[in-house]
């Protein structure tokens, strides 16, 4: 669906239609003030732009649950959730934000239930809850059932219910439009709009807006092996960098320990909870050496690092699908789980292994390796979703610009995210951003006939200029290079694969200065220039996927540079970041958020410590 026409000016444009973007749209339209405005006959101009069709967003792939201290199956308390979140994030969590997250979680889950989510239920009809790694009672004493779930399809349920509610609100969507530019006023103080490329028609549109929310999700495609969909190319984060903004804590990327070999598809933690054991090339169950007492059920980052250490020590195995390939996997041995029990409690895991590895886990070992899963960092935002720039030791808000979900960083995840907290972050802070935007919109709605006419846009305005530049670029991209030109044989899909290998070698799970510098050099000398020379291989502007892919890979390269620079700047190991050359956490120097910009300049913002001084993170 595309809008019938593009309005001269929008009250709000939301970029991305996953949990965060849709929550923001609903939070905005269902706020008290917006209802009053609509009742008075003023209809706000709102547009949701998504590079995908509706219902395809990656939110739909989330399996496990959404955390909230509902206490439906056993006693729970939001203070405990708050503590677990801070501890899980290795104390790089802004505690004011984490407190809100824990306090507001139950209301967020209830709102989702009212929106239609088919939660699994207790016998007496309440929302059922299950255990999840790192969620405890009594401040770390024992595991607690805190994750509300819908079988193993919570993300699908949330995505569909939110979209359905947006249908009820008659929200306008621009589907399969790709945002190429985020336009900010020259002095960087306020947002002007975006440029969006309609992939159906092959045309770039100037879209003026008083409020813009970026909710484009993560960037798993930075890495060769990822659980993320092909569309998670870090677009929003790259747009922010290009617009002169910073990213917060970009060096923290969570790797899930058990991706199915080179597919990256997740095999749930439950496989190990039910008795699965990780083994190296010698058949040795190595986790006991790394995490005595916890072994295969140690925290995600600990298990990922241990697997990587085995591989680095030459005790890895090649993916059986590629026997001559690199020995960068280890075995997951599930043969000890009784066959019938395995099919009963791990149906999805068994199905994935059978389908995508062509193996029978009851008799064969399964190749696994850590898979890029979640970016803890992102566009810096306040707890109301406002994007800011960190400058001279203070936050300078960019008026009208918002971000929510995985592409943002309100810093509730710190250096390592707990399971069940990502959907919560997206829904809660998405809703709050929407409410903040609603307050701004109702103060001065575009369609209020009583208010002053907004000044006519002219050709000199920044959004139009950006759109014209894109239009010229599209024309150029559609000129095919001759076959004998080296760049003419290159294409964005191959380049994305090459970038994934470089990033994986350099910073997946662990890194050091030498590896980071090598990767930066390759990005700068080889991949960057290749990306700049890319041209499409068809001159048709309509449904030309290669055009979008060229921009995506450029976004990834820009973002990859920022991730490397931020990793380089942090001379310590914390949460998901393991510096082999700086193996210890260093609170004296690095209890701070890194703020990196497109030039690779890193400044530091102190962590908000409110209630809990840093302690050692042990499980």
């Amino acid at each position: 669906m595309s809008p019938k026409h593009v309005e001269d000016l929008y009250d709000a444009v939301i970029v991305g239609a996953g949990a965060a973007g849709l929550s923001a749209a609903l939070g905005m339209l269902r706020s008290e003030r917006m209802r009053t405005l609509k009742a008075s006959g003023i209809r706000p101009n709102i547009l949701v732009i998504s590079k995908l069709q509706p219902l395809r967003s990656h939110t739909g792939s989330a399996e496990g649950g959404i955390a909230a201290s509902l206490g439906n199956v056993e006693k729970d308390d939001w203070h405990w959730h708050y503590f677990d979140t801070v501890k899980g994030g290795d104390w790089l969590v802004d505690q004011d934000a984490a407190k809100l997250l824990a306090q507001e979680a139950p209301a967020t889950v209830i709102a989702l239930e009212h929106a239609g989510v088919a939660f699994s239920r207790t016998d007496d009809g309440h929302i059922a809850q299950r255990r999840f790694g790192g969620h405890t009672r009594d401040f770390g004493k024992a595991p607690v059932r805190r994750a509300a779930y819908a079988a193993d399809r919570i993300g699908h349920q949330i995505l569909f219910s939110l979209w359905q509610q947006c249908v009820a609100e008659d929200i306008e969507f621009a589907e399969e439009w790709y945002v190429t530019d985020l336009v900010i006023s020259e002095d960087g103080s306020k947002v002007e709009g975006v440029v969006a490329f309609d992939t159906h028609k092959g045309v770039a549109h100037a879209i003026h807006a008083r409020n813009v929310l970026i909710a484009t999700g993560g960037a798993g495609r930075l890495f060769h092996t990822t659980s993320n969909s092909w569309d998670l190319t870090g677009d929003g984060m790259a747009l922010a960098l290009t617009a002169g903004l910073q990213l917060e804590d970009a060096e923290f990327v969570q790797f899930h320990p058990t991706g199915l070999a080179h597919t990256g598809i997740l095999l749930s933690e439950a496989a190990r909870a039910e008795g699965g054991v990780l083994r190296n090339a010698d058949g040795e169950a190595f986790m006991e050496h790394y995490a005595p007492g916890h072994a295969d059920l140690a925290a995600r980052d600990v298990v990922s690092r241990s697997i990587m250490a085995e591989i680095d020590a030459g005790r890895g195995i090649p993916d059986p699908k590629d026997p001559d390939g690199p020995k960068d996997c280890v075995w997951l041995d599930m043969t000890g789980i009784e066959t019938r029990h395995m099919h009963e409690v791990l149906p999805q895991v068994v199905e994935t292994i059978e389908k995508y590895a062509d193996l029978d886990p009851t008799v064969s070992y399964v190749p696994v390796k850590p898979t890029a899963h979640y970016t803890m960092g992102g566009i810096p935002v306040s707890t109301d979703g406002e994007v800011y720039r960190w400058h001279d030791g203070e936050r300078r808000t960019v008026e009208g610009l918002f971000a929510a979900g995985e592409c943002s960083c309100v810093s509730v995840h710190g250096a390592n995210r707990l399971g069940g907290n990502s959907l919560l972050d997206a829904c809660l802070f998405g809703t709050r951003s929407g409410q903040t935007m609603a307050a701004r919109i109702t103060d001065d709605p575009v369609n209020d006939l009583m208010s002053e006419e907004p000044p006519e846009g002219n050709d000199a305005d920044a959004v139009r200029q950006a759109a014209s530049a894109r239009t010229a670029e599209i024309k150029d991209l559609l000129v095919r290079l001759p076959e004998d030109d080296e760049a003419g044989r290159d294409n964005p899909y191959q380049l994305m694969a090459d970038l994934g290998s470089v990033m994986e070698r350099a910073v997946a799970v662990r890194c050091d200065e030498t590896g980071i510098e090598q990767a930066l050099a390759i990005l700068h000398d080889e991949l960057g220039p290749r990306a700049e020379r890319l041209h499409a291989h068809s001159d048709a502007p309509t449904f030309n996927q290669e055009i979008t892919a060229i921009w995506e890979v450029r976004h990834l390269i820009e973002l990859g540079g920022a991730v490397l620079k931020a990793s380089d700047a942090r001379h310590e190991s914390r949460g998901s970041l393991k510096r082999l050359d700086f193996p210890e956490r260093d609170d004296d120097h690095f209890l701070s958020h890194s703020m990196v910009d497109a030039q690779g300049q890193v400044s530091w913002q102190p962590v908000h410590i409110v209630d809990m001084p840093p302690k050692t993170r042990e499980y």
Partner: protein
Amino acid sequence: MSDMGNVVNTVTLRVNRFAPRPERDRDRSRGGSPFAKKSSPFGGSGASARRRPRGKQWVQDYTLSARPEDTVLDCLLSIKRTIDPTLAFRYSCGHGMCGSDAVSINGTPTLLCTATVKDWAKQPSVSMVDDEGFRHTGDTAVIETDDGDDSGNLGIIELAPLPGFPVQRDLIADIDQMLDQIRRLKPYLQANDELATTDEGKIDVFEYLQRPEQLAKYEQLSNCIACGTCEGSCPVYAGGEAFIGPAALITASRFINDSRDVQAAARMDAIDSADGIAACQSVRACSRECPRGIDVGEEIWQLIAQIKER
């Protein structure tokens, strides 16, 4: 994709490609002809013109190395990387959850990312279709296979866009019609906002209560990923003009069977129409390839019974 040891397996993807004629040409040709219809006297104009895209059609073979357990999506992505970056198809999550990659594989609507080479590659059988394009039936054609020559050749997989929808480019089909039909049926929970209270009237439970057996009545229906394979399989749906389609009916049924929803009667009225349940001929082709395992045909059958027995 790297080769496996010394055995080089190849597969041929035979892709039905389509390139739309650029819009300005279409406008010009229409403007130039006095017979070109700009709108239909029966209303709902534009739609049918939009639904019948003009352009160039051709069939292209891609032969590439592959392993039997590779998915068809793996093969297509490999083609994009190494052979032809212009080949267009939708894909996203790559493991059967997002629903974006439904196409026709060997004539059967299914998802690219769950279909494997070993399940779908077939050895070419030249004798099946004669020079005029007719397929002979009745007599058993002798298909000659020569194992010596074919070793390593896994066969041919034929790909076309999802049937029942207008093609936009190559394997990309316009499924807006399906989404519009789903939207038409108010596909959102309409509850009565009553929450459980204590004896004193204080709210003590904030969620709508729903027992597991009530959930079981619609849980599987709520797993629909709107991929469109059921619609592409349905011989009645084709084009969607006379039938609201199985996907929309499944969505309606999902809410009718949800104990929290209070609009069941209105929902049943909305589909008790000529292009609603009356259009379903119970062919049940819709059930065959549902990636979420929904027995779509049976569910619609139950829905019809539910409505007729009111």
